[in-house]
C-alpha cells in the first residue's frame, strides 16, 4: 500500500546517516532529529516527494470524475440552458479541463498510468498520453451520474435541463468532495504537496459552486 512512502523514508534515513552536516555543494545543515534543508530533502527524494497508492488512485479517479463533468457541461449550449447555467457550465468546463491536464501531468511525471479522456475538443489532452482508460472504475466513484441520469440530462431542454443539470452537478460535486475526504482519511495520503494543494482546491472550489448551485436551484423551484 505505502511502498513508495516506505522506500522514501528508508532512503531518508540512509542519507541522514551519511551526511552529518555539509553536503557536496557546501550547503550547511543542522543535523538533528530528522533535520534537513528542503534542498537536501530534494536530493534525497530526487525532487519527487513521497506519495502513496491512494494519492495515485485519487488522481486517476478524479480524471474520470472530471471527464464526466465535461460531458455534462458540454450539453448546456445545445440543450438550451438558461444564461446562469450556461455561465456556470462554461466555467466548469474551463476549470475541470485544466485540472485534468494538471492531474495527467502529475501522473506522467511519476510514470504512473495516465487515464485518457475521450474528448475531441481538447487538443492538449489528446496527445502524449497512453490510451489506458480505467473507465470501469468510474461508475463506482461517488457522485457519478448513472447511465439513466446522463440519458435524462441529454434529453432535457431549457428549464428542465437547468433543473436536472444543477441537481446532478451538485450530486457530482458532492461526490468529488467525498473523494477528497477519503483521500485525507487514508494514512499517509494527501501529504505530497501537489496532491494536498490540488485536493484542497477541489474541495474549496466545488463547495463554493455547490452553494451557488443550491441557490440557483432554490430560485427555480416552482
Amino acid at each position: 500500500m505505502h511502498a513508495q512512502l516506505s522506500r522514501a523514508v528508508a532512503a531518508v534515513v540512509a542519507a541522514l546517516v551519511l551526511t552529518s552536516c555539509a553536503s557536496a555543494s557546501g550547503t550547511r545543515a543542522i543535523a538533528g532529529a530528522g533535520a534537513r534543508t528542503p534542498a537536501e530533502q530534494a536530493r534525497v527524494d530526487g525532487g519527487r516527494p513521497a506519495y502513496t497508492r491512494s494519492d495515485v488512485a485519487f488522481m486517476q479517479g478524479m480524471i474520470g470524475h472530471h471527464a464526466q463533468a465535461l460531458v455534462m457541461a458540454g450539453l448546456a449550449a445545445k440543450n438550451e440552458a438558461g444564461s446562469a447555467v450556461r455561465v456556470l457550465a462554461e466555467r466548469i468546463d474551463v476549470s475541470q479541463r485544466d485540472e485534468i491536464l494538471f492531474m495527467q501531468r502529475w501522473l506522467r511525471e511519476r510514470s504512473e498510468t495516465v487515464p485518457a479522456v475521450a474528448d475531441t475538443h481538447a487538443p492538449h489532452a489528446a496527445h502524449a498520453m497512453p490510451a489506458t482508460s480505467p473507465t470501469d472504475h468510474s461508475s463506482h466513484m461517488p457522485g457519478m451520474l448513472t447511465a439513466e441520469q446522463l440519458a435524462g440530462l441529454t434529453a432535457a431542454r431549457g428549464a428542465e435541463f437547468d433543473r436536472l443539470f444543477l441537481t446532478y452537478m451538485i450530486q457530482h460535486h458532492e461526490g468529488a468532495i467525498v473523494m477528497v475526504r477519503q483521500l485525507f482519511g487514508s494514512p499517509g495520503s494527501g501529504q505530497e504537496v501537489n496532491v494536498f494543494l490540488f485536493a484542497s482546491e477541489v474541495e474549496a472550489d466545488q463547495t463554493a459552486e455547490i452553494d451557488r448551485m443550491r441557490r440557483m436551484l432554490l430560485n427555480k423551484a416552482p
Binding site: 534543508t37 536530493r43 475526504r181 482546491e201
Partner: protein
C-alpha cells in the same frame, strides 16, 4: 528604521535556522560545527537579469505588447517591462533551491511582510528574511526551515506569525510529514516565532486551529495596546476531533459548533505571546442570503434566492481578509462572496454587507482606496496554479472587481484584468497587491503570477488603465510549471515582488507620461516602520513642496486647470520654496487664497483645493 540599520550586521545567517519548539543541545553543537565564515555565506545571490525596460513619455502602452512571446527559462527567462525597472533579482537561498527539479512545489515562495529594512518571505518549507538596506543587493538574514504551506507571514515588533495549513506540517518543523491521520505532531494554524535575534529565531508556540491557516491577517486595535489579533482564514479540510478537540466538519444544521462557516480570531498578549489563543470564532456568514447585486447581470438575478432560504448556508470559509482599521472596516474574500466587516470591536468582527458575483469563482483578497470610497476584490479563479490569462479566457474571469463603498454598502462598478495574453504554460490570475502612495490618485501594484506585475490607475473605475508592468516568460517552455509573482507590494519607495520559483524581485517605477517624477517623489515621502499588506495603513503625506508639485503635474496632465495658469503656479511655487520664514509663509498663504478662487472655474476643482490645502499646511509649518 534606525534600530534596524544598527542591527544590520548582527550575525547574518545563511543556510538553516531550523529551530523547533525544543532545540536540542546536540543540534546546537552540530550547527556551530557546521558554520562557515559569515563573509562567504551572507552574500545574496544576485542574478544578472537582462532587463529590457523602457520608460515612455507616450500615454499609449507599447504595441505590440512586449509581454507576449517572451523566452521561457527559470533564471534566464525573457523579460519585458514598461515604466518600471528591475533593481535586483535575488535567487532563493541554496537551502530553499532544488536545482534538479525546477518548480519543486515544496519550495514555493509565498507572501511578504516588512519591518524596517527587513523583508520576510514565506516559503512552503519555511521562511526567509532579507536585509534590503541596499535594494541592489539584498542580503540573506535567515532561512528558517519549517514546512507546512502556505507560510503566509505577518510581523509585529519582534514576533513573526506564519500560516500553516498542510496536513504534513509538524510542530517540530520536521521535513518528514505526518503520515498518521490523527497525530499530536501535526501543526495546522499559526506558528509564532520570536525574531528578536534573526540569527537565532525562537519558536514560541503553535496556535492550532481546526482547518489550519491558509492566510492570516494581523489586526491591531487602537483601544487595546496589550494585544494584537490575528484573523485566521482556513480553506482546507477540517481535521478530526480526535486530533484537536472540538473540531467538526459537519453542516451547520446538524452541528452548531461546526468549524465550517466561520473564521478564527487569535489574541496574542504581547507580554506573553506563548499564551496566544483563539478568543472568538465569529460566524460572520450567519444568516447570509445571497446578495448578488449586479442588477445588470441576468445570471446574478437568477442566482438570487426568491424565497425564504431553507438550507441557505453561505460560504464555509474566507480565503483572505484585508483590514483597514482607519475606517473600521475589513474586506473579506470568502469563497463565493465578498463581505464587508465592521471591525470596531476587533475580537468580534461583524458582517455589514455581502456580494456574490456570477463572474467571480473564488474571492481572493481586497484592497481599499485610501479614502475608503472604493474596494477592489480579486478573483483567484483556479487557485493560482492554472493558466487563466490565455487569449481564449474570458477577460472578466480571474480578474479584479471594483466596488463603490457608499454608506458601508458595496456597489459594483467594473472589472479589470491584466491585458497581456499569456501562454498555456503560465499560471496566471489576479493576485496580491497594494496601494502606491501617489497623492490624489488611486494607484496600485498587483501581481498576476506568471502574468507578472502591473501597476494600474483605478481612480476612476470606468477608466482603469495600466501605467507600468514587468513580466517574464514561462518558467518552463514545455510544460506548465507553477511560478510567477505571488505578491507585489510597494514599501518605502520600492516594489517588492515575491517570485514563487525565482526568489525576491525589487523594482522601481520610472517617471513616465503616466507618472511624473514629482508624483513618484511624493509617493516616497510616505514611509512605514512596519508593513503587513493585509492590514492596510492609512496613507498620510507629510506636507511638502513635492506633494504640491505632484498635484500641479496632475492638473496639467488632466487639464484640470488651464495650461497657462499651471505654468504660472509652478513659477510662484518655486519662488515660495526659495523664500524662507515669514515671506515664504506669506507667499504660500497668498497662493492658497488664489487657488481657492481658481477652483471656482477649474475643471478639477477638487484637486485645486487639495493643492491649496497642502500650501496651507506648508505655511503652518
Amino acid at each position: 528604521m534606525s534600530h534596524q540599520s544598527r542591527r544590520r550586521n548582527s550575525g547574518a545567517l545563511d543556510g538553516v535556522a531550523r529551530l523547533g519548539t525544543r532545540v536540542r543541545p546536540l543540534a546546537i553543537v552540530l550547527f556551530a560545527a557546521c558554520a562557515t565564515s559569515p563573509a562567504a555565506s551572507t552574500s545574496a545571490r544576485r542574478v544578472a537579469d537582462p532587463g529590457t525596460g523602457t520608460a515612455s513619455m507616450s500615454m499609449s502602452p507599447p504595441s505590440p505588447d512586449p509581454r507576449v512571446g517572451l523566452r521561457a527559462g527559470w533564471f534566464d527567462a525573457g523579460v519585458a517591462s514598461w515604466n518600471m525597472r528591475l533593481v535586483s533579482a535575488t535567487k532563493p537561498s541554496p537551502s530553499f533551491t532544488n536545482p534538479s527539479t525546477p518548480g519543486d512545489a515544496r519550495l514555493k515562495n509565498s507572501d511578504l511582510a516588512f519591518k524596517g529594512t527587513t523583508v520576510f518571505q514565506g516559503n512552503y518549507s519555511g521562511w526567509q528574511a532579507w536585509d534590503v538596506s541596499d535594494p541592489r543587493a539584498p542580503r540573506l538574514r535567515a532561512a528558517y526551515v519549517c514546512p507546512g504551506s502556505q507560510s503566509d507571514v505577518s510581523v509585529y515588533g519582534n514576533l513573526l506569525f506564519v500560516s500553516a495549513e498542510a496536513t504534513s506540517g509538524r510542530v517540530d518543523c520536521g521535513m518528514e510529514g505526518v503520515p498518521d491521520t490523527v497525530s499530536a505532531a501535526r501543526a495546522r494554524g499559526i506558528r509564532i516565532i520570536d525574531i528578536s535575534d534573526l540569527a537565532k529565531p525562537k519558536y514560541v508556540t503553535t496556535v492550532q486551529t481546526c482547518r489550519g491557516s491558509h492566510t492570516n491577517t494581523l489586526v491591531t486595535s487602537p483601544n487595546d495596546r496589550a494585544n494584537v489579533y490575528i484573523y485566521v482564514s482556513g480553506s482546507s479540510g477540517v481535521r478530526s476531533s480526535n486530533e484537536l478537540a472540538g473540531c467538526s466538519g459537519s453542516p451547520l444544521e446538524t452541528d452548531p459548533n461546526t468549524a465550517l462557516f466561520r473564521i478564527e480570531v487569535i489574541q496574542v498578549p504581547l507580554a506573553n505571546p506563548a499564551a496566544a489563543r483563539i478568543v472568538s470564532s465569529p460566524r460572520i456568514f450567519a444568516g447570509l442570503q445571497a446578495a448578488p447585486r449586479h442588477g445588470e447581470q441576468a445570471a446574478d438575478l437568477e442566482a438570487r434566492p426568491a424565497r425564504e432560504p431553507r438550507a441557505e448556508r453561505g460560504p464555509t470559509q474566507c480565503h483572505d481578509i484585508t483590514v483597514y482599521p482607519a475606517i473600521g472596516l475589513a474586506g473579506g474574500a470568502c469563497s463565493g462572496y465578498g463581505v464587508l466587516l465592521d471591525i470596531s470591536d476587533v475580537a468580534n468582527p461583524r458582517r455589514i454587507d455581502a456580494v456574490a458575483d456570477t463572474n467571480f469563482a473564488a474571492w481572493h483578497s481586497a484592497t481599499f482606496s485610501n479614502d475608503g470610497s472604493k474596494v477592489l476584490f480579486s478573483d483567484e479563479w483556479g487557485g493560482g496554479t492554472q493558466p487563466r490569462c490565455r487569449a481564449t479566457d474570458n477577460p472578466i474571469w480571474g480578474a479584479d472587481a471594483i466596488f463603490d463603498l457608499r454608506d458601508r454598502k458595496m456597489a459594483f462598478r467594473k472589472y479589470y484584468k491584466m491585458p497581456a495574453a499569456q501562454t498555456a504554460l503560465e499560471n496566471c490570475v489576479a493576485h496580491n497587491g497594494s496601494l502606491i502612495p501617489v497623492p490624489g490618485r488611486d494607484i496600485m501594484v498587483q501581481s498576476w503570477y506568471q502574468g507578472g506585475i502591473n501597476v494600474i490607475d483605478w481612480t476612476d473605475p470606468d477608466k482603469v488603465h495600466e501605467i507600468a508592468f514587468f513580466d517574464r516568460g514561462p518558467m518552463d517552455g514545455a510544460k506548465l510549471s507553477s511560478a510567477g509573482h505571488w505578491s507585489a507590494y510597494w514599501y518605502n519607495g520600492h516594489i517588492y515582488g515575491s517570485e514563487i520559483a525565482r526568489g525576491l524581485d525589487i523594482l522601481e517605477l520610472s517617471p513616465s507620461a503616466h507618472l511624473s517624477q514629482n508624483e513618484l517623489d511624493a509617493a516616497k515621502t510616505v514611509r512605514f516602520e512596519q508593513f503587513n499588506p493585509q492590514e492596510q495603513p492609512k496613507l498620510v503625506w507629510p506636507p511638502s513642496f513635492v506633494v504640491a508639485r505632484a498635484y500641479l503635474d496632475q492638473l496639467a496632465r488632466g487639464s484640470g486647470l488651464g495650461t497657462e495658469r499651471v505654468t504660472a503656479l509652478r513659477g510662484e511655487l518655486a519662488a515660495a520654496e526659495r523664500a524662507s520664514g515669514a515671506s515664504r509663509r506669506t507667499a504660500l498663504t497668498g497662493l492658497a487664497v488664489q487657488l481657492d478662487r481658481d477652483a471656482g472655474a477649474a475643471a478639477d476643482a477638487r484637486r485645486v483645493r487639495m493643492l491649496a490645502g497642502v500650501l496651507r499646511e506648508l505655511a503652518a509649518q
